[in-house]
Amino acid sequence: MIEVRDLRVGYAGRVVARVPELDVGAGECVAIVGESGSGKSTTLLSLLGLTEGADVSGNIKVCGVDVLKAAPRELRAIRGARVALVMQSPQAALSPTTRLGVLMRRALKLHGLPAGGRVMADAAEAVMLDPGILRRYPHEISGGQAQRFAIALAIALGAEVILADEPTSALDVTVQAEVVGVLRRLREERGLALLLVSHDLALVSTIADRVLVMRDGAVVESGPAAEVLSRPAHPYTRELLEALP
């Protein structure tokens, strides 16, 4: 679903992310871990061509679309529909004066999909939300519900890939457990591909198949999550693991 080769993203001549190789297949979860400024979010955004003003080179294929060469229309067709982006605080992106159901219906219509009540209720139930929530406004729901609504939106639009940037780091730990449970189930039951950006190595170790460790814009280590996180080869990965309280 995602195939990246020799990716370089730079701003004003300074390279902020270099990723030689990144593949995510259907039903797989790959995590990019690292600290602030490591280039992990930049890498994620470049997959949808969302790094405005940056110099991007290399090859990026997402759902068969060559992101760096695609026409804006082609990019619009994958953004939001086949590839969904889940950010840290989805509530900030939801219009405060629009009910969630109206918002979902608009998104479905925008992508030329049927926007029936059944489709929307099913999507809500897939992420363990009561469909009644579609009548609410964004300020009437909690952070965990907003995050699951963002995932429900992806389900309704038939997303095959979810790109998630710190999707649970603003949530209480008990709510995080629920959201992670939803992501794991969708991956198993629907074969969703999941690319997760996170600073939380413990969380990543419980959900990811493979992991890339980034520091100062470069991938310092990558491989199967169980391997990298139990027998780290790079001193920085070791430092990250030892720093866990």
């Binding site: 209480d172 008990t174 995080q176 170790s205 866990l244 309280p245």
Partner: protein, 291 residues
């Protein structure tokens, strides 16, 4: 004799209580206040800092009611450490620290910077010229300036990267000042606090030695918190009960989220001693023996 003690303290804003009848001692060896957003932990910390007057009940500062105590002495004994963003952005950090010192002691700025592991020449920098970890150290240096007996730490490392956090925790663990730590991060409490208090919906639901509490919880909420924390290479975090149900207005506040709730839980549980800790749950024995 503990330095600070809350006795049946109810706290609120605009006449609406958010912390209900809390009794707890800040015991030696570090005390942790654990709970999720909205549980009342920061409100309780504000009361311990004398920044919020109880609606009812008493905060004891030694043998005095904090409301009537000498503020100057209290400020020298109890100092807050908030997140690094509490520094004045326009002020050089040396001056920020000097402000907290009596005029005759201002020569101690370099010594305080060294105490928190910073080079004394950083004193001429402004906060934005420092990293997040360095800023947090400055905040700690400023709090240490008056040689307090107790630091009240409200999420002191939650905005920091994990490698930076580890160094700030080492610093805090090495100080010989007592601490009250407010956090949602159980691993940090384990590291810094011998005693812990778990808050839910403004009530202390379990108190006791941290190792016992997290090793073998007696309250279903403590259990839910502990099992929700992802562990490196461990099983995926477990969601026990419904994490987003609102606290119940009557009876046990946790009952709408609790997987063990029974009709008896419609009656508010008394705080009682069970297995070396204080717990407010009708089913504490069942939680302890576990499934």
């Amino acid at each position: 004799m503990t330095l600070l003690r809350a006795q049946d303290v109810t706290l609120g804003y605009g006449g609406v209580p958010v912390v209900h009848g809390v009794t707890l001692d800040i015991a030696e060896g570090g005390a942790g206040l654990i709970g999720e957003s909205g549980s009342g932990k920061t409100t309780l910390a504000r009361a311990f800092l004398g920044l919020l007057t109880p609606m009812s009940g008493t905060i004891w500062y030694g043998t005095q009611n904090l409301r009537k105590a000498d503020r100057r002495a209290f400020r020298a004994d109890v100092q807050p450490v908030f997140q690094a963003e509490s520094l004045d952005p326009r002020m050089r950090v040396g001056r920020s620290i000097a402000e907290a010192l009596p005029r005759a002691d201002r020569h101690r700025v370099p010594e305080l910077l060294e105490q928190v592991g910073l080079a004394p020449d950083l004193a001429t920098r402004r906060p934005h010229q420092l990293s997040g970890g360095q800023r947090q150290r400055v905040v700690i240096a400023r709090a240490l300036a008056v040689r307090p007996r107790l630091l009240v730490l409200d999420e002191p490392t939650s905005a920091l990267d994990v490698t930076v956090q580890a160094k700030v925790l080492d610093l805090l663990a090495g100080l010989d000042t007592e601490r009250l730590l407010i956090t949602h991060n159980l691993a940090i409490v384990e590291r810094l606090c011998r005693t812990s208090h778990v808050l839910f919906a403004g009530r202390v639901v379990e108190s006791g030695p941290t190792a016992d509490l997290l090793g073998r919880p007696a309250h279903p909420y403590t259990l839910a918190l502990r099992d929700a924390v992802p562990k490196l290479g461990g099983e995926p975090p477990v969601a026990r009960g419904r994490a987003e149900a609102r606290p119940a207005a009557t009876g046990c506040p946790f009952r709408l989220r609790c997987p063990l709730a029974v009709p008896e839980c419609e009656r508010a549980p008394e705080v009682r001693e069970v297995a070396g800790r204080r717990v407010a749950c009708h089913r504490a024995e069942d939680v302890l023996t576990g499934p």
